[in-house]
């Protein structure tokens, strides 16, 4: 396992260097630089533009700029933003990342959970009307033109029915006198999510499987969720920040629903295919032969193994959570890292763009490693052989 991890880490670092290099040169390949934006103001002279180029280091040869950039990446200093000179890039990323992570993590988990549940059921009831309907719905939303869907959702649920807030991630009237910034509340929500996820992971990973009886397992599960939710509610209630968290949550409803609607189909079909393969396995047949209830065979035997590719896919998706989504952030006025990337590219803000890319890249690479480890841990048939994960014969 240690050797496997070591090899994976080396691969990750090499991947990251290649990725950051490619990113850098793609950005540099754009015609002009940030000073070109000042050509639209006739009162900003060529001298002033040259001074700005010097100040931003744009007057240096490309290889020096590249070496400086790589040095910054590996020393954890992402430099200062060009478009918000001289604000540090880390400062901007730290401001935008929590919003992005809260929204996209929630949406990813929700859509995967829906996909998992539906995939499990339609595979079991393959060929039924429900299977066809769910598959058709999943594929329809999966292929929908997302910006338009977002606008329709907004128009229908926020503007016409007025069930949810129209846009943005907070209501100004509520936050005007807030003693905390929304970012701090986002941070607390992230911490809350992490704790809750950790609790569930421990519960499902080590606690519940060791309980012998079905009723015991169900009770433990209820206790786990109930206790977690109660503790969360109690903490927010006593902190006096519940209204702010609720405000953010109410603004999250529409983007999360839209994102989930679009992406649940992917995980549902993945789960369905995986289940269809699994239910033909001998051990599933053996479980049936032992006279176990259909639901037990489905959920405890078939679904658990079928879940592996879904877990891998979820882990990788969570890696991408930090990159946000330009369309989602634009449509729902939820400025996060996706929009930051777009703006940075538009404004030739190389440090900010590459900083955001680096941040995303690191997360994705880590997610890949985690996915590999999880896969190796979850599937007892897998063993590390010569640094490769292969099926044992």
């Amino acid at each position: 396992m240690a050797r496997f991890l070591g090899i994976r880490l080396v691969q990750a670092v090499v991947t990251l260097i290649v990725y950051m290099t490619v990113t850098y040169f793609i950005l540099q390949a754009m015609p002009g630089d940030i000073t070109i934006l000042f050509t639209q103001n006739p009162r900003i002279t060529a001298e002033v533009r040259q001074e700005l180029a010097y100040r931003l280091g744009l007057d240096q040869p490309w290889y020096l700029q590249y070496l400086n950039y790589m040095k910054n990446i590996f020393t954890g200093n992402l430099g200062v933003s060009f478009s918000q000179y001289p604000r540090p890039v880390w400062d901007i990323i730290a401001e935008r990342a929590p919003r992005t992570v809260v929204l996209f993590f929630t949406a990813t988990v929700v859509s995967f959970y829906i996909g998992f549940l539906l995939g499990r059921i339609i595979a079991w009831h393959r060929g039924t009307r429900f299977d066809y309907a769910a598959t058709a719905a999943g594929v329809t939303f999966w292929t929908a033109f997302y910006p338009l869907l977002g606008l329709i959702m907004m128009w229908l649920f926020a503007y016409t029915l007025q069930l949810v807030p129209l846009n943005q991630f907070i209501t100004p009237a509520i936050w005007r006198d807030a003693r905390l910034s929304s970012n701090q509340v986002f941070g607390m929500m992230l911490a809350n999510m992490a704790l809750f996820s950790g609790l569930l992971l421990v519960g499902y990973g080590f606690g519940i499987p060791r309980i012998g009886t079905v009723s015991g397992r169900v009770l433990t599960e209820i206790g786990l969720w109930g206790g977690g939710l109660l503790a969360t509610g109690a903490w927010w209630a006593q902190s006096g920040l519940a209204r702010y968290a609720l405000d953010i949550l109410s603004h999250m409803v529409l983007p999360v629903a839209t994102l989930s609607l679009v992406s649940f189909g992917g995980s549902m079909l993945l789960m369905r295919d995986s289940m269809l393969e699994t239910i033909r396995e001998d051990y599933v047949m053996a479980a049936r032969a032992r006279g176990l209830p259909e639901r037990t065979v489905r959920d405890r035997y078939a679904a658990r193994t079928a879940l592996l590719p879904v877990i891998t896919s979820l882990t990788l998706s969570i890696g991408f959570v930090v990159s946000g989504g330009i369309v989602t952030e634009t449509v729902f006025s939820w400025p996060g890292l996706g929009l930051t990337l777009l703006e940075a590219a538009r404004l030739y803000d190389y440090p900010l763009a590459t900083g955001a890319f680096a941040f995303t890249g690191i997360f994705v690479v880590v997610a890949h490693i985690v996915a590999d480890i999880l896969h190796a841990l979850l599937d007892p048939r897998l063993r590390v052989v010569g640094g490769e994960v292969t099926a044992a014969e």
Partner: protein, 619 residues
């Protein structure tokens, strides 16, 4: 049903959280301000959003341009500056002018604005070097012109300049610098000067901004909204500004006893517009939306009363907005134009008749009226009609009122006059009835065939209007054998190739202009034709240079106006630019929420900061 219950619960929770309602002017913006630091905001972070929300609202200037006529007038100053006097400083010949400052003006912390603040501002700009601060600062403290500012008394300062500046550098430059509060900025400036990189340190300073205007900073919830609150100490409250039909302006303040009026022209008759300064609202909230659809929905829903956008709203929203009885849609002229130009260092673009022929072939009215369906309006002068004081209505417009056949005939005549010929000359049988055969293969006066060349123009994704124009220009040029190919590409490619590399044949872009038309100098004077200069086409005409130089040095409005008119006539004949069109700025506001003192203004309400200090709430 369950969804409804959930929504009711959420709504109830939100309602519990809401504080008592204030008189709020709710607005929408599409980009977040980036800084509260005025030096960064006007410098390297110069964006229109920063000006709408921060420094355009907080700071005052000694002199300003009073909307809606944009007449130059005192603002923090008590009167016009004294005429320049020649003096000797350290053996150097210099010129001085004195400016009196209004008494009784207070900063947001209650302290008085004095000469110390004014001196400190200019001294800081000179010490840090406006060119290094970047952005718009060099226009406010050009170190080639400004030497220093000296305190003569608590409310009087003396400017020392190295040469007598023209209107561009003086009235519309140095005298319009935002004045900052010494008390706030002095410790920051001192700390910055002691640092390794003083400019970077000054620009990086985090500060709660000082303010002397109608509003002061209150809260910035990054990514979501920004809020300014009424400045309790604003001394402009109740100040009346009257604008007269003859261009005169009269300013009176019962509160401070301040009175001022233009002398030439003097106010006569009834004022056309009377504006009484507020603010009439407790606060202004700027909600940050990332797209126009969201902001339009918010306006229709009543969440915001006005949408800031320097480009105006997209035409596609007009019908939707007009359908709502509570929404008022307004249109205003803009101070800008879209144009094509040439690399006049190359043949045939250096031949005046070639440029005139191309100008003659372009039917602006046809494209704007029939193809673009009135989204844009035709424009033919380098000073738009919207900038009425400076616009010369007598300027020649090539091809005006001609049929297609007549245009081709006129273009052929011009080209022949310059010695061009054709492999197959266009045949015009009846110009009036457009009965003609197109030509092919234009031959240069030196007998060589004109090789195909490209006109860089914005792609439809960036500007569909210009892309459309480019394709029609290509078609019309080819009808007379001019092998012009429109190459539709992105703005950055065009700007880089034109301004930084000067590697092009023709290009199409646009300009937004300032009220004082000194762009005539920057765009066409030969000194500006080097790499990075604004005269990228390399127009070089010693006679015109004299006009442009005289304009740059002009010290009176009358003198400047004559030169601007002359310059326009000259450029219309020489055609270094073919001005094509512009678009009106379309805006919308909630008439059931707010009331503005006027809505007819060059550049639209956004150009006057959404009239935050004079808007009144209806409910």
């Amino acid at each position: 049903m369950r969804l409804r219950v959930g929504a009711v619960v959420v709504a109830a929770l939100l309602a519990l959280a809401l504080p008592a309602a204030a008189a709020t002017y709710e607005t929408a913006i599409f980009e977040e301000p980036t800084t509260l630091n005025v030096f960064a905001g006007i410098g390297p972070q110069a964006t229109v959003w920063n000006s709408y929300v921060t420094y355009g609202i907080y700071y005052g200037t000694l002199y300003g341009n009073v909307a809606p006529t944009f007449t130059w007038s005192p603002s923090l100053a008590a009167d016009v500056p004294t005429p320049f006097k020649e003096v000797t400083v350290g053996g150097q010949k210099m010129y001085t002018a004195d400016v009196s400052i209004r008494g009784g003006l207070r900063w947001a912390d209650g302290s008085l604005l004095t000469a110390d603040d004014v001196v400190f501002t200019y001294d800081t700009l000179l010490r840090f070097d406006a060119n290094k601060l970047g952005g718009n600062w060099p226009a406010y403290a050009n170190p080639d012109v400004l030497h220093k500012v000296e305190k003569l008394g608590d409310y009087r300062v003396r400017f020392y300049v190295k040469k007598i500046p023209g209107l561009s550098d003086w009235q519309y430059g140095i005298l319009q610098a935002p004045i900052v509060q010494k008390k706030v900025w002095e410790p920051i400036a001192q700390k910055a000067l002691a640092s390794e990189d003083p400019v970077k340190s000054l620009l990086a300073a985090e500060v709660t901004p000082d303010a002397i205007g109608a509003f002061k900073f209150n809260k910035w919830e990054r990514g979501a909204f920004f809020e300014n609150v009424a400045n309790p100490y604003t001394s402009f409250r109740g100040e009346t500004t009257e604008s007269f039909p003859n261009g005169a302006v009269r300013i009176t303040s019962a509160k401070t006893g301040f009175k001022w009026a233009t002398k030439d022209p003097a106010p006569t008759g009834q004022p056309e517009v009377t504006v009484i300064e507020g603010p009439y609202v407790d606060n202004v909230v700027y909600r940050i939306y990332q797209n126009q659809n969201a902001a339009i929905l918010a306006l229709l829903k009543g969440e915001v009363s006005y949408i800031f956008n320097s480009l105006g709203l997209q035409r596609g929203f007009e019908q939707q907005l007009r359908a709502n009885p509570n929404v008022e849609v307004i249109r205003n002229n803009t101070n800008g134009f879209r144009y094509i130009s040439f690399n006049m260092r190359r043949e045939p673009f250096n031949i005046k008749e070639f440029r005139q022929a191309l100008a003659t072939l372009i039917d602006r009215e046809f494209v704007t009226r029939d193809i673009l369906q009135g989204v844009a309006f035709p424009l033919a002068t380098v000073v738009p009609p919207g900038n009425a004081f400076w616009f010369n209505p007598e300027v020649k417009v090539w091809g005006q009122g001609m049929t297609r056949g007549q245009r081709i005939q006129a273009a052929v005549d011009l080209l022949k006059q310059a010695g061009f010929s054709w492999r197959k000359e266009p045949v015009i049988r009846n110009a009036e009835k457009n009965d003609y055969d197109p030509g092919e293969g234009l031959i240069l006066p030196n007998g060589q065939p004109l090789q195909p060349f490209e006109m860089l123009a914005p792609a439809p994704g960036y500007d569909p209007l210009r892309a459309t124009f480019a394709l029609w220009i290509e078609r019309w040029a080819q009808e007379v054998g001019i092998p012009l190919r429109a190459r539709l590409t992105d703005f950055n490619t065009i700007a880089t190739r034109v301004f930084d590399e000067q590697n092009f044949d023709m290009w199409m872009l646009g300009w937004s202009l300032s009220i004082y038309p000194d762009h005539i100098y920057y765009f066409f004077h030969s000194s500006q034709s080097g790499l990075g200069g604004f005269n990228a086409g390399g127009y070089n005409n010693p006679e015109f240079d004299k006009i442009a130089e005289a304009l740059k040095d002009a010290t009176t409005l009358d003198e400047a106006k004559k030169l601007v008119f002359k310059g326009q006539e000259y450029l219309a004949d020489e055609v270094p630019y073919i001005v094509l069109f512009d678009t009106p700025v379309m805006e919308a506001y909630r008439r059931d929420h707010v009331q503005y003192p006027y809505t007819k203004v060059l550049g639209g309400l956004q150009y006057v900061y959404g009239l935050q200090a004079t808007v009144k709430l209806v409910k």
